[in-house]
């Protein structure tokens, strides 16, 4: 008994073993796929449209049957399990929410627990909790899916997939149909959720940015259902294995790669500030070319240039700032903050959004260069 338990905690959650799927008479949609999907991690399938991502995903819960090969879930061949039961053990979220239009949001979320025989009142109570988990107001529970926005529907879709607390979540382009602002929000909430839940998530997307943001591991699929590269997102960006992956990852990969370089070491310089309440008083002068405007809590609200101090009498007159760099965030954020700032100084804040200082683009570049040297040395060492 103990030996199997041990085996099941160390072995991958999902194993593809030489899996091929050929739809009627065509080219293989998935070609000899062998890969291990780690327990408790987000594994992203990414690649251009039609390269077999959805097919691969749907073979896990037997919505598609492989032509040959085996898929193991926790060591068990999925083909030997009852399809309906297997599917209930995995949450499934798709691009269009697929919510049942005739049921209220709460009843939609409660679907799988109800199928598993949980009493209606218990299932609804759990559904209410989940509304909160996915960041929806309780009163939305009584609405019907048709009365929700696209982003809200996707949240309900995620809640529904989580309802029976399955160890595995399958997500097929769940955020592709919502606008970019909502998408970014949903992505960061998924990361937040995953921190607590530690589910084994298989996430399909065609967006390399989304893949590198979310994935602990990224599988790049190429046309014809070939797995081109399966690695950490950092490695995919830094060292694409072939021209296909390099081309897919795109021109900005150098910049994207900075997301994986920690900004711990970047120097934070002090900056002179002026409080919003004191702007109207002309006797308060500023003494450096760019002075940062902050409110009483120390949160940034734009810049006051020395040259035009007299004309800035309220917050509305200040020069709008660039993006913010939260201390400790990646070098990409640090670089963006400094490059987008009108003063060339990247405003740096703590976790509560209070100003702690500024970073300079030139110094961020120095760190990038230093990192490159370190990696070069490491590669040299492993090569020797």
């Amino acid at each position: 008994m103990t030996s199997t338990e041990q085996a099941s905690t160390t072995r991958p959650m999902i194993e593809f073993r030489d899996v091929t799927k050929t739809y009627d008479g065509g080219q293989p949609a998935v070609d000899s796929l062998t890969m291990d999907i780690e327990r408790g991690k987000i594994t992203v399938f990414v690649g251009p449209s039609g390269c077999g991502k959805t097919t691969s995903l749907r073979m896990i819960n037997r919505m598609v049957e492989p032509t040959s090969g085996r898929i193991l879930l926790d060591g068990q061949d999925v083909a030997e399990q009852k399809a309906a039961e297997l599917r209930r053990s995995m949450g499934y979220v798709m691009q269009s929410s697929g919510l049942m239009p005739h049921r209220t949001v709460l009843d939609n979320i409660a679907t799988v627990p109800r199928l598993n025989g949980v009493a209606r009142s218990t299932a609804r109570a759990r559904a209410k909790e989940l509304l909160d988990v996915v960041g929806l107001a309780p009163e939305l529970g009584r609405r019907y899916p048709g009365q929700l926005s696209g982003g809200q529907q996707q949240r309900v879709g995620v809640a529904r997939a989580l309802a029976a607390d399955p160890p595995v979540l399958l997500m097929d382009e769940p955020f592709s149909a919502v606008d970019p602002v909502v998408r970014a929000e949903l992505q960061s909430e998924l990361i937040r959720l995953q921190r607590d839940l530690a589910k084994t998530i298989v996430f399909v997307t065609h967006d390399i940015d989304e893949a590198t943001i979310l994935g602990d591991r990224v599988a790049v699929f190429a046309v014809g259902g070939r797995l081109a590269q399966f690695a950490d997102p950092e490695e995919i960006l830094r060292a694409p294995v072939d021209d296909f992956v390099a081309g897919f990852v795109g021109r900005d990969r150098g910049f994207r790669h900075l997301s994986f370089q920690e900004g711990e070491d970047v120097t934070i310089h002090p900056i002179e500030t002026i409080e919003t309440g004191r702007l109207a008083d002309p006797s308060v002068t500023v003494n450096s070319p760019w002075t940062l405007l902050v409110d009483a809590e120390g949160r940034p609200h734009g810049w006051v240039p020395e040259a035009t101090r007299e004309s800035v009498t309220s917050q509305a007159d200040a020069v709008p700032g660039g993006s913010l760099y939260t201390r400790g965030d990646s070098l990409r954020r640090a670089l963006d903050a400094s490059l987008s700032s009108p003063s060339g100084l990247g405003v740096t804040v703590d976790d509560d959004g209070r100003v702690v200082g500024v970073v300079r683009a030139a110094e961020v570049f120095e760190l990038i260069e230093a990192g490159r040297l370190d990696r070069g040395r490491a590669n040299y060492n492993t090569a020797v």
């Binding site: 309906a84 798709m94 049942m100 199928l115 926005s149 913010l324």
Partner: protein, 250 residues
């Protein structure tokens, strides 16, 4: 019956307003009850045949061609002709007439049920299957409630046709509202003939109204609210909060 005028409408009005025609076992209320009894029996049989068949074909997609051509053939059959054919082939009495009516009711009901299942958004069905609903659960908990509007439309059309055509029973047995038509023709009583026709029309309208109400109340409110609500206050509020938390502008 003696009429005060030879005008068709006057005769019809006089027949309809004669209290004698509204009482007894041969009166209008009794005939309506008989008529509706036959309609009910016919519909029970038609539903028993068409609902399982329509659900099966709609859900599995198997035998779609058979259904479409079968429905076409059934629709081409003359009901009165079938009454006589069944009477000759099988038995006397009302059953041949009822079966002929069943043949009339099956096509609209069958195509309604089939179309109802087909009308359900395939994405919703796919999502339901992916979550682990069995095929039976998909049929009963997803396809049936979501296709109900269209399905009841088919049933309603069937009921309406049967109400109007159940007069054929009178050719087999002196029952139902058809009796007024048969008698009216036989004894050349135009008041009775057209009065009877008006009663049939009124009954048809009333039954259709009841069906319409049923259709209204049987449908989930979620399927009536198609109004896509713009992003709620709450969500846009959250977005702003997140946007600023995620590195908005200084």
């Amino acid at each position: 019956m003696d009429y005060s005028s030879s005008n068709l409408f006057v005769q019809m009005g006089e027949w309809l307003s004669d209290p004698e025609n509204w009482s007894g076992s041969r009166g209008i209320p009794m005939r309506i009850a008989e008529h509706l009894g036959y309609v009910g029996l016919t519909m029970l049989l038609a539903l028993a045949i068409a609902v399982p068949l329509g659900l099966y074909v709609g859900h599995t997609g198997k035998g779609r061609v058979l259904i479409v051509s079968g429905v076409g053939i059934l629709r081409a059959l003359p009901t009165l002709g079938m009454v006589f054919l069944f009477a000759l082939l099988f038995s006397r009495g009302v059953l041949p007439a009822v079966w002929a009516l069943v043949l009339l009711a099956v096509p609209p009901v069958l195509s309604g049920i089939y179309a109802g299942v087909s009308s359900v958004n395939r994405t919703v069905v796919d999502a339901a299957r992916s979550m682990g609903l069995t095929e039976w659960q998909i049929l009963t908990r997803v396809e049936l409630p979501n296709g109900l509007q269209v399905m009841l439309g088919g049933v309603r059309a069937g009921v309406l046709q049967v109400v109007a055509t159940a007069t054929v029973v009178a050719y087999a047995k002196a029952d139902g509202l058809g009796v007024f038509l048969v008698e009216g023709t036989q004894i050349n009583d135009n008041g009775r003939l057209f009065g009877g026709a008006v009663v049939i029309a009124a009954v048809a309208i009333a039954v259709d109204g009841v069906m319409a109400l049923l259709q209204r109340f049987a449908i989930s409110p979620g399927l009536r609210t198609t109004r896509p609500v713009a992003r709620s206050q709450q969500e846009s509020g959250r977005q702003e909060a997140v946007a600023s938390a995620q590195g908005g502008t200084t």
